[in-house]
Point group: D2
Chain length 283, copies 4
C-alpha cells in the first residue's frame, strides 16, 4: 500500500537542535508567534519585538513582502524588511518567521529568517512549495482559504518530497457564506490533522476571525482543542497599523492571552496525565 510521507513523518529531534523547533511541537507551553502584519520600519519592528518578547511570545512574525488582493495596497518593504527582522531577532533572541511568494524571494529571505511562511494564497502554488522544500528552513504552511484538510496534507507532501521534513501547518480560517467574521475558523481541523500527521499545528485567530475582540476567546479554544501554538497579529498601536488594523491586538492584550493559554495547557496536561494513570490502574 502507498503511504504518503506526511503520515509517518517524525522530524528527528536529535538532528534539529533549534530550540524553537522543539518548542513548536508543544509539550506544555504553547508556541506564540506574534508581531505586526507588515514590517513598517526598522524602529517599528524593533519596538514591537521587545514588547512581544516581554509579553511572553516565543517567536516574531512580520511581513516583508505582502500579498495584497489589490496591487495598489502597501506591498511591504521587501529585502529591507527581512534585514530589520534579523536585527530584531538578534536584539531579542526571538526566531523570525516571514512570508515568501516566489523562488526569488526565498533566496532573498534565506540569510535573514528562521521560518519561511507560505501564505494562504500560495498553498496550491506547487512550484513554490518545491522551492522551500529544497531549503533547510522550517516551513510554516498556511491552509488555503478554501482548501480541505486532505489538500493541506498533500501540499505538505510537496515540501517533504524535496527533502525538507520540518513543516508546521497553520489553520487561518476558511471562506464560507458567513459575513460576520472575516473567515470561519475551522478548529476541528486541528484534531483532524493530528490524527493523520505528526507536524506541529498552529492556529491564526487574527486572520481566522478578522475581529480583534474575538481573538482572546478563539486563542483559548485553539489551545484547548490541542493546537501546538497560536499566531497573533500584534501592533504597538493597533488602530494605526498600515494593514489589517481591525484584527491587530496590543502587547498588553497579548500578555493576557498568553497567561490564558498557558493555564489551559497546564490544566489539560494534568487531565491527560490523570487519564493515563486511570488507564494503568484499570489494567
Amino acid at each position: 500500500m502507498f503511504v504518503p510521507l506526511v503520515s509517518n513523518s517524525h522530524p528527528d529531534a536529535h538532528r534539529y537542535k533549534d530550540q524553537f523547533w522543539l518548542q513548536l511541537k508543544r509539550k506544555v507551553k504553547p508556541a506564540v508567534i506574534a508581531g505586526p502584519c507588515s514590517v513598517e520600519s526598522e524602529q517599528q519592528i524593533l519596538q514591537i519585538a521587545h514588547e512581544v518578547k516581554h509579553a511572553g511570545a516565543t517567536m516574531l512574525r512580520g511581513g516583508a513582502f505582502k500579498p495584497r488582493t489589490s496591487p495598489y495596497d502597501f506591498c511591504g518593504l521587501g529585502e529591507d524588511g527581512f534585514k530589520f527582522l534579523k536585527r530584531a531577532s538578534e536584539e531579542t533572541g526571538l526566531p523570525v518567521v516571514s512570508e515568501v511568494m516566489s523562488a526569488a524571494q526565498v533566496e532573498l529571505a534565506l540569510p535573514y529568517v528562521d521560518v519561511l511562511q507560505i501564505g494562504t494564497r500560495n498553498m496550491h502554488n506547487y512550484e513554490l512549495l518545491k522551492e522551500v522544500g529544497k531549503t533547510d528552513k522550517v516551513v510554516l504552511l498556511k491552509r488555503g482559504m478554501s482548501a480541505t484538510v486532505g489538500e493541506l496534507l498533500q501540499a505538505a507532501e510537496y515540501i517533504l518530497l524535496e527533502g525538507n521534513d520540518r513543516v508546521v501547518l497553520c489553520e487561518r480560517g476558511i471562506r464560507t457564506y458567513e459575513t460576520g467574521t472575516r473567515n470561519t475558523l475551522d478548529l476541528s481541523c486541528v484534531p483532524a490533522l493530528q490524527s493523520k500527521c505528526d507536524f506541529p499545528i498552529i492556529v491564526d485567530p487574527s486572520h481566522g476571525t478578522g475581529r480583534s475582540e474575538l481573538i482572546r476567546s478563539m486563542s483559548r479554544a485553539s489551545i484547548a482543542c490541542g493546537a501546538d501554538g497560536i499566531m497573533l497579529e500584534t501592533h504597538c498601536d493597533p488602530k494605526n497599523s498600515v494593514s489589517d488594523a481591525a484584527q491587530a491586538i496590543s502587547p498588553a492584550q497579548l500578555r493576557q492571552i498568553i497567561l490564558d493559554i498557558n493555564a489551559i495547557a497546564e490544566t489539560l496536561a494534568a487531565r491527560d496525565t490523570d487519564d493515563e494513570k486511570n488507564l494503568v490502574e484499570a489494567r
Copy 2:
C-alpha cells in the same frame, strides 16, 4: 433608534426558579446535555438516562420526532417517545429536551418535556417559532445549517415577540465545502453571539463534527471559548445506535469530557478573577 428585543433580554432569575435554567447560564460549571439521537425504546432511554447522570450530565436529550432527510429513515416513536423521556426524567431528576417540528407536536410535547428544541432545518420556520414563543417552556434554538449569526438572532426575536424570553442558542456546525467533517463547527460564533445578546449559548460538537473521535477536543474548545454548555449524543452502545452512529459517544467517554470541561471552566474563571483584580489594582 430601533432596538431588537434580543439585545437587551435579561431573563429574570427571580421569575424563573427552575434550577436547570439557572445552570444553563453558566457560572462555573458548564451545562451538559447528553442522551441518544433517538428514543429507541423505554428501556433504552431509562438506561442511558441513568448512565449520563452518573457521568455528570445535567440534562437529558432524546428525539421523539426525528426530522430525516429521507422519508424512509427512522422517524422516531412519536408521543411514546415523549412519555419515555418523562419517565426517565422522573427517575433521574434530569430535565428533558426534545425536538418539535410543528404546532401539533408542540402541543403533544408540553406535558412531557422541559425544553423544546427547534432543529437546524426549522430555524427559518417562522410559524413554528411563533408557536413555541407562546409557551412557557425554555426553547433551545439551533442555528440553521447555513444561517448567519444575524439570522439566528432574528429567529430568536420571533420567539421573544410572542412573550417567551427563555431562549438558548445552539451552534451545531455550518455547511461548507469541507467534506472531512459532517459540518464545520463555527466556534467563533460563541463570542460573536455573546457580544450581541445575553442568552445562554450551547455547542453541539456531535453534529458539528459528525466524528466521535473529534468530539472530546471540540468540547474542550467550546467551553474554552466561552460557551455555557455542550450537547453530546451519547449512547450505551454507540456503534448500534439506530441513527447517527458515527457521532455517538459512550457514557465513559462523556465522563472524561465532563472532567475536562469542568477543569477548563475553573481555570478560566480563576484567570478572569485575576484580570479583574489587576484592573482594580491598576486604578
Copy 3:
C-alpha cells in the same frame, strides 16, 4: 433494489386536464411565472396581473404570507392576499401561485390558489411537505438555500409519499461566499435534476441573483440549459416595491425576456430535431 418515487414519477397527462400543468412541462414554449414579491393591495395585483399577461406570462405569482428574516419586515396581507390573487386570476385567466408556511395557511389557500409554493426556508420542513402532499394542488418546491440536489429530491419524495405526484422543482440560487450577488444561481442543477426525475424544473433568476440587471442574461441561460420555465419578480414600479426592490423588473423588461427565451427554445428545439434525424440516418 429500493426505487424512490421521484425516479419514476410521470404524472398522468390524461388525469390532469389543467392546461397550465401541461405547459409547465415544456414542449417548446417555456412557462413564465411573473408577478410581485408581495401582494400589496387589490388594485396593485390586478394591474400587474394584466400587465404580465400582456407581456406574455403564463402564470401569476404573488405573496400573501411572506417569510421574513426579521419579524419587523412586511409579512403580507394574509388571507386577503389570496382573495385578491383569485380575483386577478379570474380577470386574466392566469393560474396563480402563492407561498404557504404552515398547515393552517395551506387550508386558507386551497380555495384561492392553483399552485402551492414551498419556499426555500421550508424545504426541510417535512411536516409542511406532508400537508401539501395531502392536497390535489400542484406544488412548487423551491430548493433550500444550502440544500444539495439529492436533498431536494428527497424533499419531493415526502410530497409524493402522501399521494400528490404533481411537483415542480425550482432552483433559486444557493448560498456561497460570493457577495457580489444575493445568491449563486446553480444552473447545472437543471440537467442534473433532469437526469434523475421527470418533474418540471423552473429557475428563479430574481432571487438567484438579487440584481435586476443580471436577470435577462440569466433567464436566457436558464432556458438554454433546459429549464421548463422561469419565475420572475415583476412590479409595475420596481423601485417602489414594498419588498425585494433590487431584484424586480418591469413588465416591459419582462416582455423582452419572454421574446428572448421563446427564441432560444425554438432554436434548441430545432437543434434537437436535427440531432434525432442524424441519429436515424446514421442507423
Copy 4:
C-alpha cells in the same frame, strides 16, 4: 477618484492583428477552445488537434505542466509538451493555450504558445501575474476556486499594471457545499464581469461541472448568458484520458455543442438587433 485599469481597458484592435484575439471578443460566433487536459504524447495531441479543428474549434488547449493536488499524479511532459503543441498548431493553424505555474515556465512557454493560462490555483499568485504581465502574450486568467468577482478583476489589474492589456477571464466553477458536481458553475459572473470590464469572458463547463453529461447543457447556457466562448476538455478516447476522464468529451460531442452554441449566438444576435431597432423607432 481612483479608476482601476480594468474598468476602462479597451485593447486596441488595430494594435493586435492576431485573428484569434479578435475572435475571442465575440461578435457572433463564439470562441471554442478545445483539447485534452494533458498533452500525453506527440501523436495524441496531433490527432486531437485535427479532430477538434474538424469539429469547429477555434483554439487548441493542452497541459504541458499540470498542477496536481497530489505530487504523485501525472504532472505533464514539461517542455516537450509545449513543443508538441506548437507542432499541432502549425499543422492545423489553431492558436495554442497552455498553463504556466512559475516564472521559469513562462520563459519556457514563450516560443511555443499563443496564450498563457493562469490556472485557478494561481489566481492569487501575484508574482506570477506580474511575470505574464511583462510578456506580449494573451493571458487567460482563470477565476480562483473561491475567488469573488472583485478579486478576479483585481488579479487582472496586476497583469495590466505591467503593461499587458490582453487578458481573457475564465469562469471555471467555484467551491461550494454541493457534492453532486465537481464545482458549482457561477454563470451569473459573466454578466456581472461584463458590467465592470471589457475583457473577453470564457466559460469552462468541463471543470465547472466535472461531469461530461452536463457539459452540453452548460455550454448552451454559457453562450446564452453572454460569454464570448467556451473551453472544453476534449479527448479522442475520453474514458482513457490520463487525467480528468470524467469530464472529457469526444470530438463528435464537441461538434454537436458547437452547432448548438452557434445557433444560440445567431438567435440572440438577431434578438439584440430587434431590440435596437425598436429603441430607434421608439424615439
